[in-house]
């Protein structure tokens, strides 16, 4: 009896280890290990004909040295042609990479703002609609998400083209006299990004606003606040966590967006995702592509840390 119960305990422990082990090992192998390799490649020599997987450590009899290269990172931030080689010379900040980061951040920020501008009132009105129609309305927001994202972006290409539907419509209505160039400009890129990421802003905002007690607004109203004032003093502060969550969900993937700029963006708006791609497959400069990706991760980690602090703060607040 004792032996069998010990055996059962052993089996239970084994099962537990198995259940934890399977996803753990999977994630270590395919999520953590690739990042370590990425980091490692980013500090290898980027000369021609050099194997990026060559060992970092030169073992010689009696001594060994580590070959860590920082050139990949320096070349991102400073232009070796202008400044001193390998140093922070006069070319600092003027590289195409810095420009690409700046453009990516700018468009990610603009996308987040326009999604918030469109999505916040939308989520607010959705949360205040009749409960009986809410599931259907919510379903309508999700529905486009189930059809191909690529195809929906592609459709904008036809809509915004010089001879496209929108231009033809505006011409027919007499609003414009000749076609406006919209495709391959920053306008078309922003429209595409806002379009794709809007639901990611709407859903967390809705989840937040629908839980809000709207009697608070009535109370404020009874106490003499105008609707507008009540909205700014009560609704907006109460939905802060929703705003932060939605903004993160829009901002972070926007920074690394690759497909939308390639289809709708112009030649002057090269975002960092595209640059990484080009370094990897056109220039075949793997170490630099890896270094660019590492810097991109760092850029994303900053708002992410902010987000986790905000959301864990919210969790603690809810528990108390």
């Amino acid at each position: 009896m004792k032996v069998s119960s010990w055996f059962q305990g052993f089996l239970f422990n084994l099962g537990r280890r198995f259940v934890i082990g399977v996803p753990y090992v999977w994630l270590l192998l395919f999520f953590v290990l690739p990042f370590l390799i990425l980091l490692r490649i980013s500090v290898t020599d980027m000369g021609n004909g050099v194997d990026p997987f060559a060992p970092l450590i030169d073992a010689m009899p009696g001594s060994w040295r580590i070959k860590l290269r920082h050139e990949n990172y320096f070349s991102i931030f400073s232009d070796a042609a202008q400044g001193a080689v390998g140093g922070l010379g006069g070319g600092f900040g003027n590289t195409i990479y810095m420009e690409a980061y700046a453009i990516s951040l700018k468009y990610a920020l603009l996308t987040t703002l326009s999604c918030l501008l469109i999505g916040y009132p939308f989520a607010y009105f959705l949360a205040r609609s009749r409960p009986s129609v809410r599931p259907a309305l919510l379903m309508l927001v999700m529905l486009p998400f189930w059809t191909s994202f690529l195809l929906r972006v592609y459709a904008w290409k036809g809509i915004l083209a010089d001879q496209g539907v929108l231009n033809n419509l505006l011409l027919a209505l007499g609003i414009i006299q000749e076609p406006v160039v919209m495709l391959y400009t920053n306008v078309s890129m922003l429209v595409g990004m806002t379009y794709v990421y809007c639901p990611f802003m709407i859903l967390p905002l809705y989840a937040n606003l629908v839980k809000m007690d709207f009697r608070l607004l009535e109370a404020a109203h009874d106490l003499g606040a105008s609707r507008w004032k009540a909205f700014w003093l009560i609704t907006v502060p109460l939905s802060k966590s929703g705003i932060i969550a939605g903004s993160m969900l829009v901002f972070i993937p926007s920074v690394g967006e690759f497909v939308i700029p390639s289809l709708l963006g112009g030649a002057e708006n090269i975002m960092i995702g595209r640059v990484v791609w080009d370094e990897m497959f056109s220039s075949n400069n793997w170490p630099r592509a890896a270094a660019l990706a590492v810097v991109m991760i760092v850029l994303i980690l900053v708002p992410l840390a902010f987000y986790y602090r905000a959301s864990s703060g919210r969790g603690a607040h809810a528990e108390s």
Binding site: L33, L140, V141, S148, A155, C198, L249, G256, E257
Partner: protein, 296 residues
């Protein structure tokens, strides 16, 4: 007077709401309408509807790249969906049930990180891993296996979120009852827990299937020569210019998805109704046969 202006304000607000909702829905659905309408266009023109024709559907079916891409994507998505749900099930179980073990924080971070990581980074780092593995082991070549791995990494994260939220709502007393009645933990899982979380498993599978079927960035990084998924083919066409056969493909996809969602909602509605009926029947029978102990 004041109440009148109030009424007016409220009326305006209600209509502002409807107007805003309507405009945003229009914004969300314009591309879909565009794709459907112009897939039936008789010419290649983008801005004018010149007449009804099915020629782009014919062109689509005779385009071997698109058809092959479709079947490859289908295969990848089916395997990715299944693998993601299995792995997501494990991960969700760990997150909900095993609250204390070494490395839990790391595990939590690893599960959630792919959700917020740009796909370019996931694709690039996995590609580097695959190249390293291929060099040391001589296997696998870039292609089917590497694409499925990449998609599953992302899909598992989404599946975990969906299954986790359902699993945390499961009534544990049912499992405890099964244990008391002599079930082994594995039996408890398959006989009690699994049926309980089945709806979440279905939605997680559908979600990961869709993500995989739709993914272009990770596939672009991880595919090899001669292996191109449907989104990759579409992406390469789209960069070149207008091709209405893509509109036709889109229309077919939209039709399939709408049909699927409608069927799913009808089934869910029926299930809910049956459940309601059974619950009300059960409560009625309780009233018809009052508990003798309570009566005594």
């Amino acid at each position: 007077m004041k109440s009148q202006t109030n009424l007016l304000l409220r009326f305006a607000e209600n209509n502002l709401g409807r107007l805003w909702l309507g405009l945003v829905y229009l914004f969300l659905y314009i591309p879909l309408f565009f794709l459907i309408i112009f897939s039936f266009n008789s010419t290649r023109q983008d801005g004018v509807f010149t007449g009804f024709s099915l020629r782009w559907y014919q062109a689509l079916l005779s385009d071997s790249r698109l058809v092959e891409g479709f079947f490859l994507s289908l295969k990848v998505a089916l395997i990715t969906g299944t693998l993601s749900v299995v792995l997501g099930c494990f991960a969700a179980f760990v997150l909900v049930r095993y609250l204390r073990f070494t490395g839990r924080t790391l595990f939590y971070g690893m599960v959630n990180a792919p959700l917020v990581m740009p796909e370019v980074i996931i694709g690039l780092s996995l590609l580097l891993l695959m190249v390293a593995v291929q060099r040391t082991l001589g296997w696998p070549d870039r292609g089917f296996i590497t694409i499925v791995t990449g998609h599953t990494l992302l899909g598992m994260a989404y599946a975990t979120v969906v299954i986790q939220s359902r699993l945390s709502e499961v009534d544990r007393s049912l499992e405890e009852a099964a244990m008391d009645l002599g079930c082994r933990p594995v039996q408890v899982f398959f006989l009690v827990t699994l049926p309980n979380i089945a709806p979440a498993l279905v939605s997680a599978w559908l979600l990961t299937f869709t993500l995989s079927f739709d993914d272009v960035v990770i596939s672009e990084f991880l595919s090899g020569p001669g292996v191109t998924t449907l989104p990759q083919v579409i992406f390469s066409y789209a960069r070149r210019g207008v091709n209405p056969s893509i509109y036709a493909a889109a229309t077919l996809l939209i039709a399939a998805v709408s049909l699927g969602i409608i069927t799913y909602s009808v089934l869910m509605l029926r299930r809910q109704k049956r459940l309601d009926r059974e619950i009300s029947a059960a409560t009625r029978s309780e009233q018809a046969f009052p508990d003798p102990a309570a009566a005594g």
